[in-house]
């Protein structure tokens, strides 16, 4: 095929990739599905389904277009292999297409969009309120000192119980029990820092994926509404990264084949604030439970654990209500009711609860705080300096 043919075809496809016919459905997809994509090293099984759906979408869009314009698959194939298609300047344009074939590229595209939307949501809140509500800034300016102190305490608690745990393990070893499979579990080395370097250079070096269109206010609002769940996305895979020293986890040496029932339905009989439905209450509770890293169904937890969870659930709910209110307020400015009451402080007091539960929570908290701080730093960069 003549070189110009290839060029024409590629140019036409590039044009399509910049048109609303392509951008709108693709953006819609990415924005709607990106919330589960976090920056953990490990991938969730659900990513695969989303990737599959993405492939189907892209294939359909491209096929429709080619049919419309009258490009045959063979012409497309030839064009794709032409040197022109491989020029540097076009590679970035093709990225959203290439992401169908490259999971890691797809994943970074989704994770980046997720981050972007979170930042937008934060920015929006800031614009509305003049400043960020406390729940979104703690760990940054206000909290730094307190946080540092808390970190210290947490560190000590972690260290102490690690020692206890190891003692226990060596005692068990002496008595000849099989503990082999937990040998790596008791480590407390943070793995966070390494996560970045794990990725192959090919994938970290990629420029931002070019799916930029003006996000409609709708999306941002959506996002604001779902923002309180930001902890939610970190839940499942995250709990693995944190040091696992609680009895719940260490007992898994023999039970490791059985996954904890993560989504076990909760039948809480505790009355929870009447402003929300029982179903919503259970969702909050469930979320809190997962966020706290408890792998047991609610009803099997100890009383103090249950109490903690109730507290967390209340907190999550409050956050959600608040953001929900914010959204409403945006839609109809007359309804600006309950937008700004202070949330309870984020961190659980580490010294009061039984040691083992504290570790699970504090490790989670620590990561969450770090993440928040990271996010807020970005926000500062993007919003405050501009």
């Amino acid at each position: 095929m003549a070189e110009e043919d290839s060029e024409w075809i590629i140019e036409s496809i590039v044009g399509f990739l910049g048109s609303p016919e392509w951008l709108i459905p693709v953006m819609d997809f990415v924005e709607n599905k990106c919330t589960v994509f976090d920056d953990e090293d490990e991938n969730k099984l659900s990513y695969t389904d989303v990737h599959q759906q993405y492939k189907t979408l892209v294939e359909k869009l491209l096929e429709n277009y080619m049919q419309e314009v009258g490009i045959s698959e063979q012409q497309f194939l030839d064009a794709c292999t032409s040197p022109f298609a491989k020029s540097k300047s076009l590679q970035s344009v093709f990225q959203p297409v290439l992401a169908t074939d490259d999971f890691q590229m797809f994943r970074s595209l989704m994770a980046q969009k997720n981050m972007e939307l979170q930042l937008q949501a934060l920015r929006l809140i800031k614009e509305r309120n003049g400043e960020l509500p406390e729940c979104l800034t703690d760990g940054v300016d206000v909290m730094t000192e307190m946080q540092q102190q808390e970190m210290k305490i947490l560190q000590e608690v972690l260290q102490k119980s690690k020692e206890e745990y190891e003692e226990e393990m060596s005692r068990r070893l002496m008595s000849g029990e099989d503990v082999g499979s937990t040998s790596s579990v008791c480590s407390t080395h943070p793995t966070e820092g390494r996560a970045e370097s794990n990725k192959s250079p090919d994938h970290t070096a990629k420029p931002p994926l070019s799916l930029q269109v003006n996000d409609s206010a709708d999306t941002v609002e959506e996002r604001v509404r779902s923002e309180p769940g930001s902890g939610r996305e970190e839940v499942s895979s995250k709990s693995q990264e944190s040091p696992k020293l609680s009895p719940v986890v260490s007992s898994s040496s023999m039970e490791s084949r059985v996954l904890p029932a993560v989504t076990a339905p909760l039948k809480s009989s505790q009355p929870i604030s009447s402003s929300i439905s029982q179903a919503a209450a259970e969702t909050c509770l469930e979320e809190a439970r997962r966020e706290a890293g408890f792998s047991k169904p609610f009803t099997e937890l100890s009383v103090s654990q249950q109490e903690q969870l109730q507290q967390r659930a209340a907190y999550l709910r409050q956050q959600r209500d608040k953001l929900h209110a914010l959204k409403k307020e945006q839609q109809r400015t007359k309804q600006n009711s309950s937008a700004g009451e202070a949330p309870p402080t984020l961190t659980a007091a580490p010294t009061k609860s039984p040691v083992n539960t504290v570790q699970e929570i504090s490790a989670e908290e620590r990561k969450k705080l770090q993440k928040r701080k990271h996010l807020a730093d970005k926000l500062k960069e993007e919003v405050i300096r501009k």
Binding site: E42, V58, E59, L259
Partner: protein
């Protein structure tokens, strides 16, 4: 023309600027077999902070002028039904076995025999890593090969390699076999 019939997306990789050959490798085996440990050791990363995999990990490793994209899927019983979703377009299967876990030899054998029946793995070479050879109670690779009936495999290349993902011993030998078999097979 044959390629075009597989659908539009099968040609999309052609759009890529790089000409480096990419190989898709899937790493499977029971929970606790040492898959993630092996993956990390392939990527020369720390193997001391690994927890059971709830989803999957991917690492890309450069070897013999190829880019090996290695997919490590969690092996817990609850995750095994998802394995199927990761088999398509696989160039090579690595199956990892805890050589010291005799109690589960039968279980791991069953899983492997189900895997090799999968249509999408038809003709795909299999490398079995008889892992944890550093443990005194580990069974030798030859014994495991027999238990798995590897010699009955037809129409596919296979190899069993004794190794220790923790010490790294034997891992490179396995990788060499992989690269030889891939280059032989792919253009």
């Amino acid at each position: 023309m044959g390629e075009a019939q597989k659908g539009l997306l099968s040609v999309i990789e052609k759009l890529k600027g790089s000409t480096e050959q990419e190989v898709r490798i899937v790493l499977l085996g029971l929970d606790n077999a040492g898959k993630t440990t092996l993956l990390r050791s392939l990527a020369s990363e720390d193997v001391n902070t690994i927890t059971p995999t709830q989803g999957f990990n991917i690492k890309s490793v450069a070897s013999h002028g190829m880019k090996l994209n290695v997919w490590d899927i969690g092996g817990q019983r609850k995750i095994r039904p998802f394995w199927k979703k990761y088999l398509e377009n696989t160039d090579l299967l690595i199956y990892v076995i805890d050589s010291a876990d005799k109690k589960r030899f039968e279980e791991t054998g069953l899983e492997l025999s189900e895997l090799v029946e999968e249509e999408s793995l038809k003709g795909v070479p299999v490398l079995v890593f008889a892992n944890k050879q550093d443990l005194a109670t580990a069974s030798p690779a030859s014994e495991i090969a027999e238990g798995l009936n590897l010699h009955t495999y037809r129409d596919r290349e296979w190899q069993i390699q004794a190794c220790s993902a923790v010490s790294g011993e034997g891992v490179q030998d396995g990788m060499n076999w992989i690269c030889n078999n891939i280059t032989n097979k792919k253009k």
